[in-house]
């Protein structure tokens, strides 16, 4: 084709251009309609091969390397070699470690999959993990394991522990359950208490299998130990007097006794033990003030220490009388309550089920737990056969009725006509990382949803606004409950209509700490579908928000 140095006819250019166009169409076609006989690996191979062909066609004919001075080719080739070398080095430097560390890659995959919920199903194990609210075992598995009543079936007899302490991973996880037995005090609290101390929840061996039965109320407890543990671990926040700091750390003096007397759900007695073992996270109301913080788990304390310090909060503060018929919590009860693998958030649900906590005798009060309407607390209801375990919570024989078991008592709320399981699942996968599982957000960083979503819902246009936020995101400064938030809520348009509506309903009616709005009418997928495709920007959604007449 060469007609002298610059001679080439137009013909060759036309041919090359046609080939380039054809290749581009072929690339498009095999991606858009992958041939059945071609695996994705081969598709990838052909894509790369075809683009290389295009690459060299352009260089060779359009850029005249074909018949130009070889010095140009040399320069460009050396640049190509260095460039490709840099490229390959870069890719291998970062991708090779990923390949040999499949765990990290799996995390990436899982998150990727989470984002792709609209395109495919989440891996089963990820779903299972979401369903357990972060606990280590899927619900189905938990359901299959012996309830505390059956513990003696799987537990080594206590005799075995006196000499040869059988080292089991579960024991290590569950914390030094034997500290109390060996009499080693543990006055130093760890800086950060683990939120989930007992991942693999084969119950740690209770120190006493059965003999907690029938006994009379015994109000005596180790007051010295209780006061000491309290001073070392609790007083920093709840104050030595037990008065707490209003709005920041809830009071214990008086409130401890109120909780002790609560009879709903698992019973206040058991609840107190669970709070110590598993912590408590989320919004609670005590004496009219709202507290939205995190009580760490204290499972690393010994059974005797935990029992003593609970008794101290119930009956040990100066000027606070022990409840009538006070029966001191005993270390055996603490031991028997270990290993349930509850999360701090699940404890919040347990709290909500306590029902009306008797108000303090003196102060005027506001029942701290919310009414039963919201009790179908988030996730647990759907999967758990809630009727088993005829919750005999008041007795102290088998203290550990599990969270789900008690929820049979909670009837459906006013209008639960949305997919609660889906809402909880989507929320956990997509929202909880920032807004927290409780919907409490992080003050000043991520706005709360519990309560706030309902406020938005209540104003005119709020219902549509909520959908817009999910579909188009929200960017810019907003103020919620006195805190300013200047961040970016991503758009979640890649979720399906059903997912968007379910998760919105979850924020409106699914949080244990916030009741559904009056006359709540669940958002339906069709409403979401109707608001798609409007091409709003996240800044425009901010304008929509500003147009709302928020209280």
């Amino acid at each position: 084709m060469a007609h002298g140095k610059h001679g080439g006819g137009v013909g060759i250019y036309v041919i090359v251009a046609l080939v380039l166009g054809a290749i581009t169409y072929v690339e498009f076609a095999i991606v858009e309609w992958p041939p059945a006989f071609m695996s994705s690996g081969w598709v990838l191979f052909w894509l790369i091969a075809l683009s290389l062909v295009k690459f060299f066609l352009v260089i060779w004919f359009f850029m005249h390397l074909k018949d130009d001075d070889k010095l140009y080719t040399g320069f460009f080739s050396s640049g190509m070699v260095i460039g490709m070398g840099t490229f390959v080095a870069l890719v291998f430097m970062f991708l090779l470690p990923r390949a040999v560390a499949p765990v990290i890659a799996d995390v990436g995959e899982a998150r990727h999959a989470g984002g792709y919920a609209a395109h495919g199903e989440l891996p089963a194990d990820v779903l299972a993990n979401i369903a357990t609210d972060g606990a280590s075992r899927p619900r189905a598995q938990q359901a299959g394991t012996p309830r505390p009543a059956d513990r003696t079936l799987v537990v080594t007899p206590p005799a075995a522990r006196t000499d040869g302490f059988e080292v089991r991973l579960d024991d290590l996880w569950a914390g030094p359950a034997s500290v109390a037995e060996t009499g080693i005090a543990d006055p130093e609290p760890p800086a950060v208490a683990a939120e989930e101390p007992a991942p693999e929840a084969e119950p740690a061996a209770p120190s006493e299998p059965a003999p907690i039965l029938a006994r009379d109320a015994d109000p005596t407890f180790d007051r010295a130990l209780g006061a000491q543990v309290y001073a070392a671990n609790c007083a920093a926040c709840h104050q030595a007097s037990g008065a707490g700091l209003p709005g920041v750390f809830p009071p214990l003096a008086g409130h401890g006794g109120d909780l002790y007397r609560a009879e709903g759900g698992i019973g206040g007695r058991q609840y107190l033990v669970d709070v110590m073992l598993y912590g408590l996270q989320g919004a609670i109301t005590v004496g009219g003030a709202t507290y939205n913080g995190l009580m760490p788990a204290w499972a690393q304390l010994g059974d005797e220490q935990i029992a003593a310090v609970i008794n101290h909060t119930v009956a040990g503060f100066d000027g606070v009388d022990a409840p009538d018929g006070f029966d001191a919590i005993r270390p055996e009860e603490v031991a028997a309550s270990r290993g349930q693998g509850l999360t701090a958030t699940q404890v919040l649900e347990l709290r909500a089920q306590l029902g009306d906590i008797p108000p303090p005798a003196a102060a005027a009060p506001e029942p701290s737990a919310e009414p039963a309407t919201e009790a179908p607390a988030t996730e647990a209801t759907d999967t758990e056969p809630a009727t088993e375990a005829p919750a005999t919570e008041a007795t102290d024989t088998e203290p550990a009725t599990e969270a789900p078991a008690t929820e049979a008592a909670a009837p459906a709320g006013p209008d639960p006509t949305y997919d609660r399981a889906l809402g909880t699942e989507v929320y956990a996968a997509s929202c909880a990382a920032c807004h927290q599982l409780t919907g409490a957000g992080l003050p000043g960083v991520f706005p709360p949803l519990a309560g706030h979503a309902a406020d938005l819902y209540a104003v005119e246009g709020g219902r549509a606004f909520l959908i817009d936020v999910m579909l188009y995101g929200l960017q810019g400064a907003i103020t919620v409950d006195g805190f300013t938030y200047n961040g970016l809520m991503p758009a979640w348009a890649h979720l399906t209509d059903a997912q968007v509506s379910a998760v919105l309903n979850h924020t409106l009616a699914g949080f244990p700490s916030a009741p559904a709005p009056d006359g709540f009418d669940a958002i339906r997928p069709e409403e979401v579908a109707a608001q798609r495709g409007r091409g709003l920007t996240s800044a425009q959604v901010l304008e929509l928000r500003q147009a709302l007449e928020l209280p």
């Binding site: 690339e27 260095i82 609209a118 188009y472 758009a491 979640w492 348009a493």
Partner: protein, 205 residues
């Protein structure tokens, strides 16, 4: 681009007595620049691949990328390269009218490509993909945005040539200047060939 024919019409060809090579300096310069640009884009594409699938939040590539649309814009860019060689061919034949027509065509097609990109970016931002929103947004916008800047420079360059060809009528003696602009343009084209495959097509395999 000096218009003085004696010294600079074809640099290095007539006044090459102080050079060891008879090749035009400006062309050599362009090839060296392109070699360095290969490294530039190589690292950007490498960065994109390293962070591919590592975004923690959406939108993810498969949520926003539109293959049919980008195929069309890719085709437009490829055809602009075709017009580029036609323009150079016409100039070498001293067919100045065709040379101007094709040169305008290249700039016009380049502008169409940029229009596609502007539309695409605006659409993606509406979908929530921002420069700082997630890793995909960061690497995608930096890579395709850098390419878009290259295209923009090319369009401006070609329009300048077009205007200059009226101010000081071009002849076949000026071909090296158009050829250098063409080299740049074709290079931008081949970079897009790679981006189209690596960023767009591979995502849907």
């Amino acid at each position: 681009m000096s218009a003085a024919p004696a010294t600079a019409v074809v640099p290095g060809m007539e006044s090459g007595h102080y050079r060891s090579s008879k090749l035009p300096d400006i062309k050599l310069l362009m090839w060296v620049f392109l070699a360095s640009d290969v490294m530039f884009f190589g690292s950007l594409i490498g960065t994109y691949l390293v962070y591919k699938d590592r975004s923690l939040v959406g939108p993810y590539p498969a949520d926003v990328l539109d293959i049919p649309l980008t195929t069309v814009s890719t085709f437009v860019l490829l055809m602009s390269s075709f017009l580029m060689v036609l323009a150079l061919h016409a100039l070498r034949q001293d067919q100045i009218r065709q040379f101007r027509l094709w040169t305008f065509g290249v700039a016009f097609f380049g502008a169409i490509f940029l229009g596609f990109q502007v539309y695409e970016f605006a659409h993606f931002v509406d979908l929530g993909l921002t420069l700082q929103g997630n890793l995909f947004g960061t690497t995608f916008y930096v890579l395709t945005g850098t390419h878009g800047v290259h295209v923009t420079i090319g369009v401006i360059w070609l329009l300048s040539i077009l205007i200059h060809s009226y101010v000081k009528p071009w002849t076949s003696k000026d071909e090296v200047y158009l050829e250098v602009a063409g080299l740049y343009w074709h290079f931008v084209d081949i970079v897009w060939i790679v981006i189209f495959t690596v960023v767009y097509l591979v995502e849907f395999v």
